[in-house]
């Protein structure tokens, strides 16, 4: 029972699964090898149980239901022949007692006599054709009273041999009394069966349970591994890859592996066990007939091989069509507004139904392939049965094979074909899982992970000197975002960067944090090139307030501490106070423990900003980078934000990407950026005297302020 986990997301596909992928997967299974081994042992024992069930009914028939004896008349043989017989088959005979020349041989033992000999003995009258039944007498020589009604053919020590027809003539009370031993035998088989059945139930349960346990744990390990690797990528990776696709990789793709672990791997082993088990049993029963019935095997293998390539192709095509359909739908649903605005519904419907029909045709192709494959496999199995009936039946007529063996052959050959048939069903699951595996491993391997310099500078607290030396940077080759930027911020200084959207201001913050590396030039912190400083040191030494505040689901406290264990309660309380955030946090009855829902939608934009201030301040960083949010907030919160900014920039080196006039005025220095270049820089007064764009800007502002 397979569950849906979101919709399937597609990429290119179609390579057949290969050993390399499986090997890599197996590495994840290594920690659970004990449990896996246990599972395989369970599967093996369950197979043995499965194989033994038909045998038990065979025993029930031969030993108990049809139990009867034949009389041997060895005195009719020459001394020499008699000795030969006794030597060869003596162990089969039940001696009736000393001195007697009549002996009995049981129904099941007689089949052990070589068919050729048997015919000869029968013809010579050594073995009588009459079926007899042994009726035991009580110890004191009496019985329940029916011996008077019987006409014994033979009497031995404590029993008499009665023809079966005689017994069958009796009423059921008598039969019950006479054949009590057989009834007991049947009951015993019933009990053995019951025990086996219960064992198989428990075994089956534990097998399934352990499989799930192993599969889930392996998946969890792969998931964690994949997550950590993706997380370690540089920030640029997350800009190039849509979050949705990355999430699908970590969740849905790994989910697809589950089916493989659960239903495929172990059933494959089980199938192999059954296959091998039946093979051995058949060869044991009659190797000639077994080999004859294996004639069909090469055809099966060739046929399966040919078909699997066709099916792979059909499968690949389906996946491709589904992928196309999905991409199309995804885009139309998220861009439905455009379609409706341009009244393009009819056209889209036509394109969609074309794609949908292609998908249908691909599906039909697969159905047709299966409609040929499955019946042909069945046909092979029936051919084999026909062969066994014809060839094996001939052997029975020729007394070379017992009837029971023929019946056993037929039922075992049906067991034999089931695994082969199932392979095709498992094929699809396997393909799907392999496609996912490939994508998972590809995601693990591709993309640069952030890594620190081999010879890092010794970690030390940042003093706060920031220097850019001729830094150039571009996100996309040929589209420079920063062009030869040079500036310096001294410890304790507050510098404001102003400029239009797209001037490259936020990029500067990202470069200092080592989210990206400059194309040219170098950035120095406290006089050391940041490439030599471990990222951890830089990032925990700098408090970064981003433009759009990201809220994690969790409490306000968690959102401020972000799991930094080294923060004391007092640090958080201080940070909240310095960030002017106490006012809104106190509004919640549970204060810092207030739980924020997805994305913090219960907080206003201003409150989120205050929260992000507290987050940045909590570790008392020496450097603060503040990317002011542009979204407008209500006047009251605006005042709180302004106060908080003034407070927190007072004591530390601050680089602020400014939008508020109050912030800009307060800065020691202002860097005016435009299109990736520094246009002018200096203190407010300097820039005003200079009469550049900053001056013009301010004139406009004064004009508008006086007009307001």
């Amino acid at each position: 029972m397979h569950q849906d986990f979101g919709y399937m997301e597609e990429g290119r596909l179609g390579r057949p699964y290969n050993l390399r992928l499986l090997k890599r997967l197996a590495r994840y299974a290594a920690p659970y090898s004990g449990t896996v081994l246990g599972c395989l042992m369970l599967a093996l024992s369950l197979t043995l149980l499965d194989l033994s069930l038909p045998y038990l009914s065979k025993v029930a028939i031969d030993e108990f239901i049809l139990s009867s004896w034949y009389r041997l008349n060895l005195s009719g043989l020459e001394q020499e022949d008699r000795e030969l017989f006794l030597q060869k088959y003596g162990y089969l005979i039940e001696k009736s007692g000393s001195g007697s020349h009549t002996e009995l041989i049981s129904n099941s033992n007689i089949k052990k006599i070589d068919p050729a000999d048997l015919r000869g003995y029968r013809e010579k009258g050594v073995i009588m054709d009459r079926h007899l039944y042994k009726v035991f007498m009580d110890d004191d020589g009496t019985d329940a009273g029916f011996h008077t009604r019987l006409n014994p053919a033979e009497a031995g020590d404590g029993y008499m041999a009665v023809p079966v027809e005689e017994i069958n003539r009796l009423d059921s009370t008598d039969i019950k009394a006479i054949r009590e031993g057989d009834f007991r035998g049947l009951a015993l088989i019933g009990i053995v069966l019951l025990v086996l059945v219960i064992l198989s139930f428990w075994g089956g349960y534990w097998e399934e349970y352990l499989l799930e346990y192993i599969g889930q744990n392996i998946m969890q390990d792969i998931r964690n591994d994949l997550f950590r690797r993706i997380q370690a990528r540089a920030v640029g990776f997350f800009e190039e890859n849509p979050v949705g696709r990355l999430v699908t990789r970590v969740t849905n793709d790994i989910e697809n592996l589950n089916e493989m672990f659960k239903s495929v791997l172990v059933t494959v082993f089980k199938d192999i066990f059954i296959f091998a088990g039946v093979l051995i049993i058949l060869l044991y029963i009659n190797w000639r007939l077994a080999l004859a019935s294996f004639i069909i095997l090469p055809f099966i293998f060739v046929f399966t091989f040919l078909f699997s390539s066709l099916m792979r192709e059909a499968f690949r095509e389906i996946r491709e069509k589904v992928a196309k359909l999905n991409v199309f739908q995804q885009e139309r649903f998220s861009g439905m507004r455009i379609i409706q605005l341009f009244a393009g519904e009819d056209h889209q419907m036509r394109s969609f139904s074309d794609l949908n029909h292609e998908n249908f045709l691909a599906g039909m192709r697969q159905i047709k392939l299966f409609a040929v494959f499955v019946p042909v496999m069945e046909l092979f199995s029936s051919f084999t049965i026909a062969l066994i009936i014809w060839h094996g039946g001939g052997k029975v007529i020729g007394d070379q094979l017992s009837l029971g063996s023929l019946v056993a052959f037929i039922s075992y050959i049906q067991m034999f074909f089931k695994p082969i048939r199932d392979i095709s069903e498992k094929y699809n699951i396997m393909q799907l899982a392999m496609a996912s595996t490939e994508r998972i491993f590809e995601s693990m391997d591709s993309g640069r992970e952030e890594h620190d310099s081999e010879t890092p500078a010794p970690p030390s607290a940042l003093k706060g000197r920031i220097e850019f030396r001729d830094v150039s940077f571009s996100y996309v080759k040929g589209v420079p975002v920063l062009r030869d930027i040079s500036f310096e911020i001294k410890p304790g200084e507050m510098v404001a960067i102003v400029g239009a959207t797209g001037a490259g201001k936020t990029t500067i913050a990202g470069l200092i944090e080592r989210f990206y590396s400059p194309d040219r030039g170098s950035i120095l912190l406290d006089g050391i090139d940041i490439r030599a400083i471990p990222r951890e040191t830089i990032r925990s030494g700098i408090g970064l307030v981003m433009q759009d505040v990201f809220i994690f689901s969790g409490t306000i406290r968690e959102n401020i501490s972000l799991g930094r264990d080294y923060l004391a309660e007092q640090d958080i309380i201080d940070a909240v106070r310095d960030a002017n955030a106490s006012r809104f946090i106190e509004k919640f009855p549970d204060g810092l423990n207030h739980s924020l829902s997805e994305g913090g939608s219960t907080l206003s934009g201003g409150e989120r900003q205050l929260l992000s201030f507290a987050r940045a301040l909590a570790s008392r960083p020496g450097i603060l980078i503040l990317d002011e949010a542009t979204s407008s907030v209500d006047p009251e919160t605006e005042r709180y934000i302004q106060d908080a900014i003034l407070g927190m920039t007072r004591t530390r080196t601050t680089l602020v990407i400014a939008h508020r006039l109050s912030t800009i005025r307060k800065a020691d220095r202002i860097i005016v950026m435009h299109r990736g270049k520094i246009y002018e820089q200096g203190a407010h007064e300097e820039l005003m005297t200079k009469g550049g764009i900053y001056y013009k800007l301010n004139r406009f502002r004064e004009y508008s302020e006086s007009a307001a």
Partner: protein, 592 residues
């Protein structure tokens, strides 16, 4: 989502919308099912042939020639089974594929008719899940589900009949566990569905946690919190694992339990049936046949559980699809009249008031404005002041009450939707590009527009040179499998898209924000000089754009606080205060 126990009839009711499709494919379906039933009977015939061979061999009344006949009979039966199997697969499973195709088309057509409010409250992922997973579940129910149901039913009933024929007593004995099975399956499915629900829930929690980690990657990196976050993901993953294992504890019972019931039957038959054989009430051959029929029953019993599951999941999916199909398109054209209307471009808002459903505050409050043909109107105002909402009422993406919005003196609700939207060129804020060629992205299915016009529009949007610079020019594929455009290029492309039809009304909603000032000016000059006779509504934050409008409408918190020409507006203190914050950036941008 809790799935309480659903009676079979209501499960059927969920599939009712497919009635027409089933009727449509009734012939292939019934033919296929007929083939399936034949296959079942033929399958029951093979053991009979084998039994005859065995009986004949026992009685020593057989020759090698007659053995060959028996073998050939088996091959003949197998061949007919093979042919019939091919046909039922083709017909029944094929029909389920056809029904799937029809349902998906129907759903897509319906979704296209739904208005903005639906797309605002429904995540794209949810719609995708309906169209992919749920439709697949329906296909499974109508295909393999139906097949297994019929197959299991026929096989089950035939096997039981044959068993009763052999020995009513044994049949009764061996079917004793049946009530327990039914009880067990019922309880089991109920427990499973609640188990699956909680698995599903923890899975979406996990997905959300992972999504959050990637979406907030900058914060995590900026604070070096990678370890913390991977621990959080690990914890959530463990929760998911433990839910799965909880379910597995129940699920692992299912198949062994079914097998147990079946094998218990066999144990009973060997014990009691063996006695019967000894007592001569049945023959040994009967005993053997009985056991093989009992074995045949295993599949129908398992199928019962499987089919129940397939049907229930199909029904649950169908319910979700039905909910979507039942969504009424909120905005429809006027009933009846089908006469094509051509807009001139006279627009009049009469006390336009609008409120988003489920919101308390009005997004637009009593706005009256008359726009004449050939006028250019510039809309200014802060973020969330109502400009976009205002513009979206024009093509009736958002619907207003009767009498609030007139076009050429006619109530907008009386104009066929198609004509209305054809005659309004709308450039949205987010530049939506489809994974298709540039040409198709421009045309969006509008026929009869010559290539020169496309080139002309690209030139006006200042994109022509760039497009021509591409190897395949206008036929270059964009998006997922093609090239990626920058934000500015996308915006310019959407502008070209809107102007190719030379619509009587052009709406540009802040659609040049990612284009630099000079290019923006060029584009606007080009558009406005081409469209002197036509009506234009433009939202922009740039003063250059604002200054060239005939009418400037100032929005503030859903109200139009001012409307007039540039000079009148520039003296308005409210307008100036609105622009105080933006002034800095704009002035900087103009500075070079």
């Amino acid at each position: 989502m809790k799935t309480p126990e659903i009676p079979f009839t209501s499960t059927l009711r969920d599939f009712l919308p497919l009635k027409e499709d089933f009727r449509h494919y009734r012939w292939p379906l019934s033919l296929g099912l007929f083939c399936l039933i034949l296959v079942d009977f033929l399958q029951l015939a093979i053991p009979i042939v084998i039994k005859r061979v065995v009986d004949a061999l026992t009685g020593n009344t057989i020759t090698t020639t007659s053995l060959l006949y028996y073998a050939l009979a088996i091959i003949a039966i197998a061949l007919s089974i093979g042919v019939l199997r091919y046909f039922w697969r083709l017909f029944v499973i094929g029909a389920s594929r056809r029904i799937e195709e029809r349902l998906r088309n129907r759903l897509f057509r319906h979704l296209q008719a739904l208005d903005l409010s639906f797309y605002q409250r429904t995540k794209t992922g949810d719609i995708m899940a309906r169209s992919i997973n749920d439709i697949m579940a329906v296909r499974m129910a109508t295909g393999m589900g139906l097949v297994s149901f019929v197959d299991g039913f026929i096989m089950g009933v035939s096997a039981i009949c044959l068993m009763i024929y052999i020995s009513p007593f044994l049949a009764f004995i061996s079917l004793l566990p049946a009530p327990f099975i039914i009880f067990f399956v019922k309880r089991f499915t109920r427990r499973m569905s609640s188990g699956f629900d909680s698995v599903q829930k923890t899975f979406s929690d996990l997905t959300e946690r992972v999504r959050e980690s990637f979406a907030g990657i900058r914060v995590i990196k900026a604070f070096s919190r990678e370890l913390w976050e991977s621990k959080r993901v690990d914890e959530q993953g463990r929760e998911y694992v433990s839910e799965n294992i909880k379910v597995a504890k129940t699920l692992a019972l299912f198949f062994p339990m079914m097998l147990l019931f079946n094998n218990l039957g066999i144990a009973l038959v060997i014990w009691l049936g063996g006695r019967q054989a000894i007592l001569g009430r049945i023959t040994t051959g009967d005993f053997v046949a009985f056991i093989s029929y009992l074995n045949l029953l295993t599949w129908p019993m398992m199928a019962m559980g499987w089919v129940t599951n397939l049907f229930q999941r199909g029904a649950a999916s169908m319910r979700r699809i039905n909910r979507m199909l039942e969504e009424k398109p909120g905005i429809t054209g006027p009933a009846g009249s089908s006469e094509t209307v051509h807009l001139k471009g006279e627009i009049e808002f009469r006390g336009l008031t609008f409120r988003y459903p489920e919101k308390e505050e009005y997004a637009l409050k009593n706005i009256s404005l008359r726009i004449h043909k050939g006028q250019t109107v510039s809309l200014v105002g802060k973020v969330a002041s109502g400009k976009t909402t205002f513009l979206l009422t024009l093509p009736r993406v958002l619907d207003v009450l009767p009498g609030m919005l007139m076009m050429d003196g006619q109530d907008i609700r009386d104009i066929p939707l198609k004509d209305l939207r054809r005659d309004i060129g709308f450039v949205t804020q987010d530049a939506m590009i489809f994974s298709d060629t540039i040409r198709n992205n421009l045309l969006l299915g509008r026929d009869g527009i010559p290539e020169e016009i496309l080139f002309e529009a690209l030139k006006t949007a200042r994109l022509y040179e760039e497009v021509m610079g591409l190897e395949k020019g206008i036929d270059t594929v964009l998006g997922e499998r093609g090239i990626t455009l920058s934000g500015g290029q996308r915006q310019r492309l959407t502008i070209a898209r809107a102007i190719i039809s030379d619509p009587p009304v052009l709406v540009m909603d802040d659609s040049l924000s990612m284009v630099d000032t000079r290019t923006e000016e060029d584009i606007l000059n080009g558009i406005l000089s081409r469209r002197k006779e036509r009506t234009n509504l433009i939202v922009s934050h740039r003063l250059t754009t604002i200054s060239r409008a005939d009418v400037i409408a100032v929005f503030d918190r859903g109200e139009m606080v001012e409307a007039g020409d540039y000079n009148a507006i520039m003296n308005n203190p409210k307008f100036i205060s609105l622009y105080k914050q933006q002034a800095l950036a704009q002035e900087l941008d103009r500075g070079d």
